[in-house]
Amino acid sequence: MSDVRIGVYICHCGKNIAGVIDPAKVAEFASKLPNVVVARDYMYMCSSPGQALIEEDIKKYNLNRVIVAACSPRMHEPTFQAVLRKAGLNPWLLQMVNIREHDTWVHEDTPDKAEEKAKELVAAAVARATHLYEITTEKAPVVKSALVVGGGIAGIRAALDLANAGIKVYLVEKRQSIGGKMAQLDKTFPTLDCSKCILTPLMVDVARHPNIEIYAYSEVVDVSGSAGDFKVKIKLKPTYVDWSKCTGCGVCVEKCPGRAPSEFNEGLGIRKAIYFEFAQAVPRRPVIDPNYCLWFTKGICRVCSKVCPVGAIDYEQKERYVELNVGAIVVAIGYEIYDMTKMVEYGYGKFKNVITGLQLERLSDADGPTKGRIVRLSDGKEPKTIAIVLCAGSRDEKHVKYCCRFGCAAALKHVYYIKHSVPDAKVLVLYTDVRAFGKGFEEFYQKVRSWDDVYFIRGRPAEIFEDKDGSLIFDVYDSNTGQLINVKADLVVLESAVVPPKDWEPLRRLLKVSCDPGGFALELHPKLRPFETTADGIFLAGTIQGPKDIPDTVAHAAAAAAAAIGFLLKGYVESVPYLATVNEDLCSGCSLCASVCPYDAITIEEKEGRRVAKVNVIKCKGCGACAATCPSGAMQQHYFTDTQILSEVSTLAGGAK
């Protein structure tokens, strides 16, 4: 390796790096290291002039290795690889050194030590770079179809966008109907248009779209393969109705004597044992709930079977499985309301007249359990004083740390419901901060403030008690007036915190997507790539990435679809550069590597009379487990060879000379 010619570039990153250490000194240090031909520092290496600097140097000094000491390689490695490519060098002759996230940002209290550390890291990179070599990648075709998990507004929008781009879409929904949380809402803020009126046409579009296939009442149970070529196993839960025969006439539902609490109405109303989720359900195909069906529970009835004009009822139906082959997966499984019984101080679940905002939506909906009348659940009376509690469980270290992002605007909307249903009601909005950040929200907030008998109290109740008549009594300190206010309310509405759905965790593990501290899916980058994940080919749409209101959810879903379309239409996936590679001369064919490969990418083959390992470059994802296991050093991993890692380790362990 006599002709190794290294260029070292130390980035100031404005003050991010240069505010703590002196990049010029690090460059000066680097210039004396073996094989280093040129070492420079610059204000912003990632800027156009910074990139041009490297490009010119490569040509001028005939460099064949480039080291950039700057931010995390997770940030700008691709940027600088492109520079190398442009200058005619193989991009894997680049070595990044993380002196920002791993150094100046965390050691600013000890700048001398931070500078020493930067020098050592650069020295280790120089040692490692000496052993870098050119890497080429291979391409494999992509299956032009997508799976969308979850049929709420995010899934609907993503599915439609994908389908309209000519991509075959499989939409999987765990419940009987698509529609999700948005279908449960009466109206949407800030415009107060009817939620179902704007949602159901889209649901119908989904049902009719030639490129979309809906799997309702179904779940994803297994995912294998990799980006561009996923194999997905879908479980079709038994509906006890042969949907291929069913015409959706609904006579079975009409005649069914079985009753069950309605999930769609948040437990407030009842539904039949054979049911549609709601009137405009898509698909319009009913399911039997065996926990409440008299045939399943008591062995009597069978009315549905008798009245069905097409003989679609099938009590013997078993769960079925479907295997799908898709290139990309869009996760759109939404959110759940935080279990408010965990906030014992508010008495939800104990006091009947304490309800959640989502329950108020159901009460206000003309199609809901009270036909749109807002009532006290204890006695069905019209409430005259209603308190709405914001941040119920949100922004709370003991419950949910983050902001729910729609509670404030929903509360304003809920004031409207109440004033619309009970015009003479007194409404107290108990807020901490009204975060009316969205388009049209502030104007809406202003309008609601002006309404008669609506009071905004800046405070948060601590304990809610029930009086003998079922009304709720509590004190709330109002920091606007500086007074403790005694409240006696007929109804308390909790704008509850939101959490990821319970079934997210098993799906997340199947998809190998990371999660944030709140349990939501972790995006690839919080600002720049908020709808992609660290898993290639898996995209995020809507609230599974974090709480969102409907406008943001739709925008996010459309962006996820666009990203998925781009991924699918590119037509190929590239093999990872960090592939396993065999030195056949050293390989003894012991097959230990094959036994540790999680992707079955290694086979043992006969070659010139002896057994040697062979790597399938598309299957291999570059974890390096085989290389770590190989007893002879025959199996190596590109860009992470034993020699490369050991030279880096040795330098770091010994310190800079």
């Binding site: 405070g459 948060r460 601590a462 304990e463 300190y477």
Partner: protein, 170 residues
């Protein structure tokens, strides 16, 4: 009353944080849920835990200490229980009391007496004779209860106690 920004004293919050750890008064966002919960506040409206925390964060606690209102806390712990940011206002108040004593402020008279009794007798008061409803006098011995002994027989115990509490009544 107005507050002067030049008087902001960050040391107070620092001292309080040290005394209340692992609670986090620095996280307070003034939702005032503590004051909604506060037992004392219901009978003594001038007592406002969220205000005490806010003033502590600014280090402007002179007024609080002068007025002695921090001694009104009923220590019901509701503020800490319901605080969404684990500020634990009650612990902040206890810390302020400690700071006040260290600065030479005196606690309420009864607490002084209790402190003296604890150091000298081991209990907050000497065993008293109580009256029944029928005005009969009862003492421990009349009730057949074992005689109380002085728990701090070791001179070092008394020394240790005096180190912590002595300044209050001496």
């Amino acid at each position: 009353m107005s507050l002067d920004v030049r008087l902001i004293d960050k040391k107070v919050l620092k001292d309080v944080i040290e005394l209340v750890k692992p609670h986090t008064p620095q996280y307070c966002y003034q939702c005032a849920k503590c004051t909604s919960a506060c037992s004392t506040s219901k009978v003594l409206p001038d007592y406002k835990p969220h205000l005490i925390v806010a003033l502590t964060r600014l280090g402007l606690v002179k007024e609080l200490l002068n007025s002695g209102i921090i001694w009104a806390c009923s220590e019901c712990w509701k503020c800490a229980e319901y605080c969404p940011q684990d500020v634990a206002p009650v612990e902040v108040v206890i810390a302020l009391k400690n700071l006040a004593i260290a600065m030479g402020y005196k606690p309420p008279e009864d607490l002084k007496v209790m402190t003296k009794n604890v150091i000298e007798l081991g209990y907050i008061s000497p065993p008293i004779e109580v009256l029944s409803k029928e005005f009969e006098v009862y003492s421990r011995s009349v009730l057949g209860l074992p005689q109380l002994i002085k728990p701090y027989i070791n001179v070092e115990t008394a020394n240790n106690l005096r180190r912590f509490f002595g300044g209050v009544y001496e």
